[in-house]
Structure formats: structure tokens, C-alpha cells
């Protein structure tokens, strides 16, 4: 665990009290909660912006906060992307990008991990370099701000709802850049959001915040499959499985995924063979069959074991199924009548027919 601590901050009526927490040293950790739950305050305290913070923060073996002493922010090697791009208006795009790079170059002789051409390419900034920052669109500004942060060679990247000030169009345009960052950067990323969609698409780990406290820190699969997860309180029951791309059948527009020992066909995805994706299956799209049919219009038939059954309303039952040794269950919603008619019970082997499945990223 790379970043750990326990701190408090009192501001007026609001009190932030984290309790002990640990954040993984790689991947993207989403900080999720309603507005007013303390997400931004939590991240600002972590970064060192709030002087009144009491407690400890340690990043690997560097003490950021301990016994009332706070390490100066410019010595922490952290990157921070704010809700608003906050570019320096007296500098053009290139000088904004180079601001942190210059200072990182001065303070260390070690070769940079993130180079200027690389960032320009990643974030599509080549055409913007000589532009005045006030002439950029919201999405462009935020890309420049992210680039500027990356070039300062941070050891950890913190982002406070970097998409909050963007319109839907810019959001869609910038999302792939975030996915790329998550996949290509080797540093931990902390990402505040109140959007379940962003969590599903981007996060590896989720920190749930509620009323100034951290209520839970868990892996995304755990978080998505947990009943009553705050990620989608109102949505229909569904399951999220991790799967590996094993085959591309472009002529059929399909991609073959491996879930446990079984193969699952989904509409073609961009990911290459060997890469991991998250598959979402709505419980209503799953039926149970006694054996694999010889002929069927449904492509996906997975052998499963019934783990548990629970009534969710007067007429239907949610069946928790296990695919091979997969850590996350597959949910099927069947009618009470079917359950009784088929005599479904825990421990039985069935075939799950999946009518449709979608991919999160």
C-alpha cells in the first residue's frame, strides 16, 4: 500500500474524519460519494492544501503529515488536477506544459519517465502548443492541465472531478484519454467523482465517502457486485465479471472473452487479445437451462453452480450463480413459478443462457 494515513479536519460545522485508510500503489482509485460527503476536502488534505489538518499521512516511506509537521507541497512530487483547468493565463499552452517539467528537471538528474513528446501525443496537444490558453475550449484546457501535471513527473496523480466542468460532448471526447492514463501510467491515480459511470469505466478500487468519513475501500468488482452498492442504488440487479479477450471475430462483429473456463461472445471491443475487460450482465438477461441446447439463437451458454437464492419481490427470485472458480457471482432473475417448477436449489449445476452482455470499457 502506497498511501496511508488517518487524519481529521474541522471546518465550521463540517468534520472530516478518515479513520485508518490505505490506498493501493497502482491503478486508479476512485473517491466516490454524494456532494457534501467530503471528497474534495479529503483529497485537499491529502495533498497538503489544508493547513488545519491533524493526523498522519505517509506516502511510501515519506512522511507527508506527522506530529503537526507538514511536508511542503512542492517537495511531495504529487500531481493535482483541479475541477477547473486553472491554467496560468500569462503563459501559452507550451509554457504551461513545461512549467512543471522545468522544475522537475532541475531537482533531479534521473531521466524522466514522462517525456514532452509523449504527453503531447497522448493528449493530442500538438496543434495547441502555441495557442493562448484563454482561446481553448473547456476540454482542451483540461487536457493541457492534465499534461502539465504529468510532465511534472509526479509519483502520484490526484484528480478532483476533472470532468465536472465539461459538457457531455467534451466528456465523451476526453474519457479515452483517462483510460489511457490509467493503463499506461505506472503511478497510483486518485480520482474524485460522483458519477457511477466514471467509476465503472475507470476505477480499479473505490473509496466510498459518506458524511465526512470513509465508509469503505474495496476493489471495483467487489463494489459493483455488492448488494445495495451506492454505485447504483436504483438500477436493476446485474453482475460485473472480469474477462480476458481471447478471440476477435471481426467478420461477425464479435469478440470472444474468457470467463473462468467458459467462453463468452460480446459485440466487438477495441481491446487486443490478452487484455482484460469488465462485462456487465443484467440479471434479467440470464435464463437457466438444464443442458446446453443443440440449436439456439443465444450464443452464450455458461456452465454454472447455484450458490444461493433470494426472493426480491412477490413473483421473482434472484439466483446467485458461480461460473467455474470466478470470484464474482453471476446473477439471474427468474420467476418464482420457474424456480418451483424447475426445483432450483443450492449446489445444482445448470447452464446459464446469456441473451446480452455489455462491456464497460
Amino acid at each position: 500500500m502506497s498511501l496511508r494515513g488517518n487524519f481529521q479536519l474541522q471546518r465550521g460545522e463540517f468534520r472530516l474524519e478518515t479513520g485508518d485508510f490505505e490506498i493501493p500503489s497502482s491503478g486508479l482509485t476512485a473517491i466516490f460519494g454524494h456532494s457534501g460527503s467530503g471528497k474534495t476536502t479529503f483529497l485537499r488534505c491529502l495533498a497538503g492544501f489544508e493547513d488545519q489538518t491533524m493526523g498522519q499521512v505517509k506516502f511510501f516511506d515519506q512522511a507527508w503529515l506527522s506530529a503537526g509537521k507538514s511536508l511542503a507541497i512542492h517537495k511531495r512530487k504529487l500531481g493535482y488536477v483541479f475541477q477547473e483547468a486553472s491554467l496560468f493565463v500569462h503563459l501559452n499552452v507550451e509554457d504551461n506544459l513545461r512549467y512543471g517539467l522545468k522544475r522537475a528537471t532541475k531537482s533531479s538528474q534521473v531521466a524522466h519517465q514522462i517525456s514532452f513528446p509523449q504527453v503531447v501525443e497522448w493528449l493530442g496537444l500538438a496543434r495547441l502548443l502555441k495557442r493562448d490558453v484563454v482561446t481553448l475550449s473547456g476540454g482542451e484546457k483540461q487536457r493541457v492541465a492534465i499534461g502539465r501535471t504529468l510532465l511534472s513527473q509526479p509519483k502520484i496523480l490526484m484528480m478532483d472531478e476533472p470532468m465536472a466542468s465539461l459538457d457531455l460532448f467534451s466528456k465523451r471526447a476526453i474519457m479515452p484519454y483517462f483510460e489511457r492514463l490509467r493503463d499506461e501510467l505506472e503511478i497510483p491515480i486518485l480520482y474524485i467523482t460522483h458519477s457511477p459511470e466514471e467509476v465503472e469505466r475507470l476505477a480499479d478500487t473505490v473509496v466510498f465517502m459518506e458524511k465526512g468519513r470513509i465508509s469503505k475501500i474495496e476493489l471495483i468488482e467487489q463494489a459493483l457486485n455488492r448488494e445495495g452498492t451506492p454505485l447504483y442504488q436504483s438500477a436493476e440487479p446485474r453482475s460485473v465479471l472480469s474477462a480476458q479477450v481471447v478471440e476477435q471475430h471481426l467478420e461477425d462483429g464479435l469478440t470472444g472473452l474468457k470467463v473462468g473456463d467458459a467462453e463468452l461472445w460480446v459485440p466487438a471491443v477495441q481491446q487486443g487479445i490478452g487484455e482484460w475487460v469488465r462485462v456487465v450482465v443484467s440479471a434479467q438477461q440470464v435464463s437457466l437451462l438444464a443442458e446446453k441446447p443443440l440449436q439456439s439463437s443465444i450464443l452464450n451458454h455458461l456452465p454454472v453452480t447455484i450458490e444461493s437464492l433470494e426472493a426480491i419481490n412477490d413473483y421473482s427470485v434472484l439466483v446467485h450463480l458461480r461460473v467455474g472458480n470466478e470470484p464474482w457471482p453471476l446473477l439471474a432473475q427468474v420467476t418464482k413459478r420457474s424456480k418451483n417448477g424447475l426445483g432450483l436449489s443450492v449446489g445444482q449445476q445448470w447452464i446459464a443462457a446469456i441473451k446480452s452482455a455489455s462491456i464497460l470499457n
Partner: protein
């Protein structure tokens, strides 16, 4: 027409105003940064203290200064015991007096500039690896340069126009502490209207010229920053 007019007071005025302005900008910056950051009653009290010279009669300020930095005063006697020549009736004394008298004119624009700038650009610069001094020169100063221009102009102009404080602590020693404003007063007292005319006209034209240049530069900065 200039013959027979002593221009020395103009030179003294220029010197006092230049020293004072430089001192106000250098020492005023940390003070204004601090004032922009603090809040509540503390801020109100210190803002009021800085603004005092705006409302006090210059003679009141001059009187207290005379009492403090005069040879018998607490600072004056300490100064003398360190082997320095007396502050009163000297250029240093004039600069100290002008510094306090023009303080609000330098501090207020700077403070407003820093408040307007907010803490965000400074936070950004810190996360990008810039230390406090680096942040000031690479971010704060370029983004508040218009406020610096206004502060320097007002401090300079206000010092040039000073009369009462200088009269109280600097006296009227020709060539040393006799500034233009006091020289003009003396000429009028002595019914030397032609000399008063020359000095006054030079002051008027120079002031207009300086302000015009400042406003045009200010306009251009505004256009550039957008």
C-alpha cells in the same frame, strides 16, 4: 524664464519619491500577501491600521513621527546610539515619513490584486514543484503586474504631492530636505510668484505625463491579459 529659479527642490522630491516607492514595493509585498491571506477581526484591524494615513491629518502623523524618531524619541535615540546621524531633518527621515504616509496607496492595490488572484494559481504552482520564492516570481508577480503598476504609481504620485508630514519631520533645508511642494509654498509666502509658477507648471506637466504613460501601459497590459 528658468533663470533664477532653484530647481533643486524638484530633484529632492524625485529622490524621496523614488526611494519611497522602491521601499514600499519591496516591503509592501510581504505585508500585502499576509493581509490578503488573514481573515476575520485580525484582518479588519490590520487593514484599518494600514489605512490610517488616509484619514489622519498629515500633521498628526508627522507629530508622532517626530516624537518617535526625533533624537529624544525611542527609535531616534536608539538610532543615535548606533552611531548614525539623526533621522529628523534628513533624507532618511523624509523617506521614513513618506513610507508611512503613502503606505495605503501601495498596500491596497497589491492586497486587492492578491485577493483577486486567489490561492488556486499558487496551489497549482506548488504541486508543479515550485517553492515559495519561485512561485512569487513565476506566477504571482506576472499575474498581478497591473496591480504593481498601480501601486507604484499611486505611491510615487502621493509622495510627490506630500507636504504636511515632510514639513513636520524634515523641516525645510534647501538642497537637503526642501521638496518642491514646500518650496512652492515658500515662494508664495515670499510673494515670488514667478518662481512658484515655474515649479508648479513643471510639477503639473510632469504629473500629467507620468500618469498618461502609466494609463496607456496599463491599458495595453489589460488587452494582452484579456
Amino acid at each position: 524664464m528658468l533663470a533664477g529659479v532653484d530647481l533643486q527642490p524638484l530633484w529632492v522630491t524625485l529622490q524621496v519619491a523614488s526611494y519611497t516607492t522602491v521601499l514600499l514595493i519591496v516591503l509592501g509585498t510581504p505585508l500585502a500577501l499576509w493581509l490578503a491571506r488573514i481573515q476575520g477581526m485580525k484582518k479588519a484591524l490590520f487593514e484599518a491600521m494600514v489605512a490610517l494615513p488616509l484619514v489622519l491629518p498629515p500633521t498628526v502623523l508627522g507629530f508622532y513621527l517626530l516624537v518617535t524618531i526625533g533624537p529624544e524619541g525611542p527609535i531616534g535615540s536608539l538610532w543615535a546610539s548606533l552611531g548614525f546621524s539623526p533621522l529628523t531633518f534628513s533624507m532618511s527621515g523624509l523617506v521614513i515619513g513618506s513610507f508611512l504616509y503613502s503606505l495605503p496607496f501601495a498596500i491596497q492595490p497589491l492586497m486587492h490584486g492578491f485577493e483577486q488572484l486567489g490561492k488556486r494559481p499558487i496551489e497549482v504552482a506548488a504541486t508543479l514543484g515550485a517553492g515559495p520564492i519561485d512561485r512569487f516570481f513565476s506566477v504571482i508577480l506576472p499575474l498581478t503586474r497591473r496591480h504593481y503598476l498601480v501601486a507604484a504609481t499611486l505611491a510615487f504620485a502621493h509622495t510627490v504631492g506630500e507636504f504636511g508630514v515632510i514639513l513636520m519631520i524634515g523641516g525645510n533645508i534647501p538642497g537637503v530636505t526642501q521638496v518642491a511642494s514646500i518650496a512652492i509654498y515658500d515662494h508664495v509666502e515670499a510673494m515670488e510668484y514667478s518662481q512658484a509658477h515655474v515649479l508648479s507648471a513643471i510639477m503639473l506637466v510632469m504629473s500629467l505625463l507620468v500618469l498618461t504613460i502609466v494609463y496607456s501601459v496599463n491599458r495595453r497590459m489589460e488587452v494582452k491579459i484579456g
